[in-house]
Structures are given as structure tokens and as C-alpha cells.
Symmetry: C2
Subunit: 321 residues, 2 copies
Amino acid sequence: MDTQLKVGDTDEDTLVALLTAHLPPGDSTLVGPGDDAAVVATSDGRFVVTTDVLVEGQHFRRQWSSGADVGVRAGVQNLADVAAMGARPTALVVAVTLPGDLPLEFVTGLADGLAQVCRPLGVGVVGGDLSAGPVVTVAVTAHGDLEGRGPVLRSGARAGDAVAHAGVAGWSAAGLALLTADLAGHDRELVAAYLRPSSPLAAGPAAARGSATSMLDVSDGLVRDARRIATASGVCLELDDPADVFADDLARLAPAATRLSTTATTWVLGGGEDHGLLATFPPGPLPDGFRKVGRVVTGSGVTVAGAPPPPSTAGWDHFSR
Amino acid sequence: MDTQLKVGDTDEDTLVALLTAHLPPGDSTLVGPGDDAAVVATSDGRFVVTTDVLVEGQHFRRQWSSGADVGVRAGVQNLADVAAMGARPTALVVAVTLPGDLPLEFVTGLADGLAQVCRPLGVGVVGGDLSAGPVVTVAVTAHGDLEGRGPVLRSGARAGDAVAHAGVAGWSAAGLALLTADLAGHDRELVAAYLRPSSPLAAGPAAARGSATSMLDVSDGLVRDARRIATASGVCLELDDPADVFADDLARLAPAATRLSTTATTWVLGGGEDHGLLATFPPGPLPDGFRKVGRVVTGSGVTVAGAPPPPSTAGWDHFSR
């Protein structure tokens, strides 16, 4: 198909056919796209479900993000929420709004990005909806299978637990800062971490098998999200000195921080959208992929050794910025 | 809360708390809103899932539709897709974009509208996401439980089956036509059928129990949707003369049609968004709520006795209008 074509040059059925051809059917799909609804298998009489929307101008800009970038990001951020419950992702549906002047290339890229995230995991894209709209919005709803395990909630942390983290910290915020300063060429890997985040999805079910007492997807910043576990569990999360426990991230981010006259610690503690997993575990060995970053004590809130904690408003809020 | 407040005067956490307070927890909900994802029970190792988005300026206008109207419509159109698979609706999630100048009253109305649809059915609103955006968009993903039955697809119609319809036909299109002509006062009930459609949701599982061979939600127009069954099943759907089988709808719509110098038959055959159910059944008695409107024969496409069929483009397409 001619990639110079715009969305407004075609019709809904053509677009749906174009997208469906790019999307993986999934290992748990009993009835895929094309009917009024899909049917998905679940192994234990329960399913996990979460939804997140990406909005052009709020979460991404088309001059920075390709369709594939947006597809990857929409997929990852939703599958990370499924993984953060300790579930194995199985299926997603996607509702998209598209301006009429959007190149079709962006739309096929979007499908390819979702497919890149989903196909290796056996996750099916089992349904969707398309509408015209003034900006691109991508609302993904993702589903998972707990495989007989209990869900890992935010509310289960107990004094004496270890606090542990899987994934990178601060990379996405650093990448966004570089893009914003028109310095993308300074560090393409960090920019890619913002445009196409990579979440340690397998660590979610591993944490559940490893007796995690609480867990969440770090989407709004480490301290802000740690505070959510603290509040839900009625405990205090004492984070160790980032200079020790996030030494690798800090070293990786240092040149960009220097270039932008900020500190890497700000990104590690306050940056959002890396989609790492923050979890608490009873004393003992941690599952693969997790590093110990602190401990749970009685009390409330979050403390950070060796650094003043960011203000409670640090992190992302799409209405109060 | 002061209802003169705008979305931009508050923050995401406050909005989420405001919405969650209005929404029903649901009978099948194991873990509700507030964690990374929800957990929903399913009785038979499968779940049904569908998604649909409503976009301001495309599907509704704020000068016509209150927040509650949009909430009802978003709920009904998604639950109708679940019902059209023969499933009992159990849970939905909703991803919303909101302009900063939107009155908070619209947002609480939206939640109330969803609740009005969901609460009587025991359907939970188990999760959501909010973002700022240039227009209001409401992407709902709905889920259902097949209760051990096979899903009723579009592809199962067989020659010899009866074609049957549940719900009203043409009312929504008539209501939209009245609104567009600034004649809402002419017939408030028809306008309400557009703003807050009512779908015969219980007829979906009833049809499945009654051995329906195919079924879909009539969202894009009776003929257009009948053609989808015909195509998926490789058969022809012969619809009886609307003057006979839709006599009640035609009589109800006649005054509005006269007022607008059109024919009620146009609305009955081509009007979308009534969210009735069109199904096919083996010979025999029909389940409660269904009326016989035609038969399945060998061949392809759709015929309508006593009326020229609308062109194949009749009905809704959000990109080609």
C-alpha cells in the first residue's frame, strides 16, 4: 500500500484489515478479532485487566515518536501493569483515534510496535476500535493470567521485608530531558529508553513465585510509586542511598546529567515511565532480575538514605502540570 | 464538590477518587480499582472482551449530550457487544481523555451514566485511566462470562434458519436526525434513544441458550450488519417486508419522518446505534425478546422484501463520511 496515503483517504474496514494483518493472534486466544468480541482463555477462573491511554501532545509528540515507538510504549506500559500483579500477559485490545491527515505509515507502525511487544510473549491483540479524532490517542486494555497464584497487591508489604527493584531507573526521564533540550544525539540509548521503554515483564510472575508481598509498576517515579506501596500497606519504605543501590544507573546517566546541568539522582528517584517493577519480599534470596534497594519498617511514607526525598508532588500528573 | 470547578482545577488523584466513588464494584470483581490492575472472576476458564471508543465531535457533541448521556452510551454499546456473543457482562474498564476546561460536573455525570448501566446488571467498573486531551474521548473495554456456553459468532448462520431481531430499530437515527434539524422538542423519546440507547442485553444470553447460530449487535444499521452475518456465514439473509415485521417501529417513527421529509423505513433499515441484537435460529420457537424478521437462504448478501436494499455503503463509517 502507498505509504503516502493518509488515514482520511481510506475507510474504517480497510484500516482494520491493514492493522489486523500486522497483529499477533496470541497463544491464549479462542476467538480473535472480527466478531463483536474476542474470547480469551484463562487457566484458573480469573483474569487480570488494566487500561492505559497514550495521548498525542500529552504523552508523545509525533515529531519525536514514530508509530512503532507509540505502539511499543502503549504495549509495554500496559503489560507492565499486568506483570506487576504477578500475572503472565495473555491478550490486549486497543481503541485508537486518528486524525484524517495522519499518514497511514504511522498506523501500520503503531500495529508493528504493538506486535513487537506482544508476539514474543504469546500475547494476542484480540480486538480494537478505530475512530477519527483531533489527535492520536491509543487506549490499550491488557489482560493476564495469574496461573493459580494470588495477585500481588500494593497493600501486602510488611515491616522486615526487603524492598527490591527490577529494571532501569531514570533512563526514560533522562531521554525525555535530552529530547526536550534538542540533544537527542547526545545519547540515543537514553532517548530510546523514553521512546520505546523496556519493562522486565518476566520479573512480575517471578516475583509472585518468589513470595513477593507487594509490587507495582514504576510509572510515575520511584519515590512517588514507593509511597503508594507505603500508603496501601501502612508501612514506611526506607530506600538505601541511591549512590550505592543505583550506582549503575547513576553512572550511566551521569554524562547526560552533566550536559543538562542536573543530577542523575533526580532522574533515578523522580523520573517516570521506565516501567521497572518495585516489590517487597520476605527476608531471603531475591528472584532473578531484582536488586535490593531498601527495607520496610513500621511507620509511613518513604525515606531515602543520603538524599533529601523529592517533594510529594514529584513525578507525573497529567492534570496538574 | 463545587460543580463549577473545571477538570484543570484539580489533579488526577482527586479525579480518580471522585469517579471511583460513583462506580459500582460489580459481582464478579475479585480485586477492584486502586492497584496496577483488577482481577475478575470467570466461571468457565474463558472471558469475552470488546472495546469501543466514543469521541467528542465524532460520536457526540457536548451541547447535546450530558456526561451521563455519554456514560450510558459508552456502557451500553460495549455491553451490547458482550451480549451479542451470548455472554453475561461482568466488568468493564474505561480510559478517558478530558480537556482542562471541562466542567467537573460532566465527569461525575459520565461516571453516573456508566453506573446506571452497570449497577443493575452486577457489572463492575474495575479500572480506568485519565489523561488530559483536546476533546472528550471515552474508551470502554467490556468483559463477559459465557457461563459454559459456546460463543455465538457471526459465522454460524445456516440456510433454513430464521432471522430474528431484539430491540428497537431506527429510533436512534431518528433521534439524531431530529437533533440535527434542531427539532429535539418534536419527540423527546426518540432523541433519548439516540442520546441514551437501551439494548436488550438479557436477550444475548437468552439467544445463546436458545441455540442461536449467529448473532451481532446492530450498531451500524440493520442491512449493513445483516450483511456482516451473511458474509461471515457464506449465506444470504432474506429480510421480510419492513412494513410487516417492523410495523411497530415504522408507526412509532412515522410522525418524525414526515416532519423531516424522509421515510421511517430508511431509519429502520439503515440507522445505526440502536444496539438491538440480530440473530439467526434453527426453526422453532424464538427466545423471549426476539421477533422473526426474515430467513437464511443459500446465496450471499441481504435482500429486503418490498423495499430496494440500501446501497452497501449505508450505515456508519467514521472515516469515510
